[in-house]
Symmetry: C2
Subunit: 204 residues, 2 copies
């Protein structure tokens, strides 16, 4: 068969991403393979390689959807109504961190695929992928407005420091690379981070 035109190129792409994301969700990144995706969408690997560049390309597209999903998750839970809320700066930040941690927990396999998969350092990230990251930081920076001053560059830096730190705590904890004892919890660690970092910001 050829040009079945059952689906357009874009439809095949979307179906493959959906099926692939499902595979990762169920069995982690190692549970993903081009052949399983092809089987899942009723096509052959050849067709997949006609639509995607290679293995990395598919995973990257799947991860991009996860980034979108994460952003949607945070928007839904934290809303856009920053201004009218009466939460303190600290609580806003803690809520942001808790939200990220919850997403990572609830979607562990998809979330960890975000970091288990890396391109070779010399290969540049596709622009469309960078845009998903930037969209995420746009949201975070917006929520940081009350905490940090007007200075644009400083706001950028603060957002990145806080976000990367929260991610680091979340990543090491969920992947069992941070030995916790007794009362320690992920949220306890991020709260400590936020309380002290913000107190430091305000004391200057």
């Amino acid at each position: 068969m050829a040009r079945r035109s059952d689906h357009t190129r874009e439809e095949i792409k979307a179906m493959a991403i959906a099926v692939g994301r499902n595979l990762i969700q169920e069995n982690g990144l190692p549970g993903f393979s081009a052949r399983k995706v092809a089987l899942g969408i009723g096509y052959t690997v050849g067709t997949l390689y006609n639509v995607f560049e290679n293995h990395d390309d598919i995973v990257l597209h799947i991860n991009a959807v996860t980034l979108e999903d994460l952003l949607a998750y945070m928007e839904k839970r934290l809303g856009d109504d920053d201004q009218e809320s009466h939460a303190s700066d600290l609580d806003v930040l803690k809520g942001l961190a808790a939200c990220y941690i919850d997403y990572a927990r609830e979607n562990y396999n998809c979330w960890s695929a975000l970091f288990e998969h890396n391109l070779s350092p010399e290969a540049p990230l596709p622009v469309w992928y960078g845009e998903r990251i930037d969209a995420l930081f746009g949201f975070i920076e917006a929520r940081l407005k009350p905490v940090v001053g007007k200075d644009e560059a400083e706001a950028r830096q603060t957002a990145r420091v806080l976000w990367a730190s929260i991610h680091g705590i979340c990543a090491l904890t969920l992947t069992n690379k941070l030995t916790l004892v007794g009362v320690e919890t992920v949220e306890g660690l991020t709260d400590s981070l936020i309380e002290n970092y913000v107190a430091g910001l305000k004391s200057r």
Copy 2:
């Protein structure tokens, strides 16, 4: 042939780990395979599977060596002479962060293998692997003594927060998952983290 006794079980293990670490160092985790290791040590995959449990087991052993190597790197660069040094608390911490970042940069492939490789969440980390992590934190906590109070639990928590945060900044930056612009550098971000976090600690 059988029981060639050219090498003991332990020697084979050590040779395999060395060769495997070399493979990862040269071509990243995807450049590693049991067959290449076997070829490199002059044995067959079968022998490898006689000595190691499986693929994960080998990678875990390699990563454990990397953890040891990282600790040795930090001990060598930062020394044990905390007391006699005249560096400020801040500088001690910044030095710790800079040291970690340098190691990650100089040993990118081995370092990133530490995080690209994950066991399934239900499978427990081997104790001997946890011990390497704990040894690392022992060193870090010791260097944090001057910064944090005497309270043991709080010292533990502070060490973990700071270390995980530094790691998060380092990880997102080196793997191109944090869009930096212009003047921003990894060290700039970690310095901001440390300055504000410590200022927060002292202001309470």
